[in-house]
Amino acid sequence: MKFGQPSTLPRWAQLTILPALNIFAALLVTGLVTWLIGENPLECLKLLIHGAFGYGEGIGYTLFYTTDFIFTGLAVAAAFHAGLFNIGGEGQAYLAGLGITLTVFAFDKVLPFWVLMPLCLIAAMAFGAAWAYIPAWLQAKRGSHIVVTTIMFNFISYSLMLYLIGHQLIEPGSQNPTTREFGQNAWMPAMQDILAGIGIHIPNTPLNGSFFLALIACVAFYLVVWHSRWGYELRTVGTNEHAARYAGMNVTKIIVLAMCASGALAGLSAVNELLGSTHRMNVLFTNGIGFVGVAVALMGRNHPVGIFLSALLFGALTQGGLDLSFAKPMITREMVLLIEGLVILFCGGLENLFEPILAMFFKRGK
């Protein structure tokens, strides 16, 4: 079954009940596991929610992670709309980090913030897009399967970046494989500084200006996919490639462009991580955010509003899960991975599980 196939459900139910059922099923299984290892699931849930939303720093961290997941979720969704599964967001974000680092190293001594920041954004998007371009080109021109190629490209990016950070970009004299700190003119302004400017004071967190960038990306994604000629072509290719070709669309070009857009979006998550938070590049700074994007896009039904909400959910799970693991020594932060996997399973793999049941229910109502 292809993505974006018309559903038998009313649209509102498809966008509300179905994801709710899916997340409920995922949480139920996780609760069961929690109970099995001898913890009280409800108490854990309470701790998790408090960790994510209960206090200022928690909210800041939640929104910081949300920013990452919005970008990677939109990235996966952009490819999904063209009927492609981009599992390579991780590598694309990693490579985008390289683009940012090279730009900053070249210019942070000479250029002011207002010139350097846009340059960094362009570099992040360009490197992310370039890393997605090769698998896309290989799929469109040489027929190699994009999923396998992007998986291989993830591993290639790990080796490449490990080499570059460890041997070429490493801070001289440092023991850790990390680059030198970026100049202050390359820092994305922190949210506490932005809000302090208008008289609102919030606790210090890594939340930064990239959050607004993510919101802009959501709006732009909506406008491009549903209200532009290019978006129409994108969705046509995703729904029926043959029809698209018959209608005179250049399928090759659209596939390549969709993957490049996907890679560029994934690349922006590196902006949030490097320019917004760490201000230097570490080995494996992506830490799985590209894979979370798959869960986010599946649960958000490839729509920016859904992606924002499910990114928020995963941001909350990440931050709340960290807090939970501090409060409960028996629970590790990998619990979040379990939930993520179950969400991927129920929303993506088993998307046909609840839908026929619901559809029957709706038919009977008529």
Binding site: S144, H145, G349
Partner: protein
Amino acid sequence: MEQWISLLGSTIRVSTPLVLASLAGLFSERSGVVDIGLEGKMLTSAFASAAAAYVTGNPWLGLMAGMFAAILLSMMHALVSVTYNGNQLISGMAVNTIASGITPVLGLAWFQQGGNSPQLDDVARFQDITLPFADSISRVPVVGPIYSGILSGHCILVYLTFLVVLPVVTWVVYRSRFGLRLRAVGENPHAADTAGISVARVRYLALLCNGMLCGMAGTFLSVYQTGSFIKEMTAGKGFLALAALIFGKWRPAYAMLGCLLFAFADSVQIRLEGVPLPIIGEIPSQFIQVIPYVLTVLLLAGFVGRAVAPKAIGIPFVKSR
């Protein structure tokens, strides 16, 4: 000379889990079900087998537990891919993510060692076996070092893999009734269906075999190689096995050659770490690590030979509309 002997010996050892996993992938993919979840199944079975071997003190019970855990995940994959006609790639990714999540969660709860398992006692581990006469003929030129240095001194799983599993899998896939059906279902499920073969049944059976082999692969890692479960210990081996499967064009013997090649590269890389070579100097280990992945990309793109996947791969079989 001695270096070559130990290099080839370790190549065989390192390649064993890869061979098992890529044969597992072969069953699944030949039946038309994509399996990017090899990694997760290996990881889960590595955990289950280490846990069982630790509790019972018996490596064979560990192996059973590992196979059982991998089969459970395989059946989940089958449920999604065959029964619910879901997206097989997404299901495979779910398997991987769930495995990365559940193993440390249970590991911490059961053993309180940060998600790893305790080190196994020697009796709970598979031991190296010295083949008969290995000592006495080790001084014979050529044959001696090959026999006692390369072939002898592995654990039982290594011999099982190369002497039993590989021939049996090859025979099953190419010579048995099930194998014929397996390939038919993977190439053209509608034709197979017309001939009275149950596509779903064949695919479920294929995934059962897939789980068993993944279980062996995972067990090899934890109950033999490291002697304990370590978080994320598969470290991409499942994907490496998938790469070898593609490299071998979905054929058992060629997939094994791919695994041996990748394992050889891995063994070379460990030995070259920090050693300067004549003319080119020191090779960063990442350059060698990346070879299998680059090769796979080139192969899939048809720049180096051509790898053509089973025709029906990844497409859910819908009997009628």
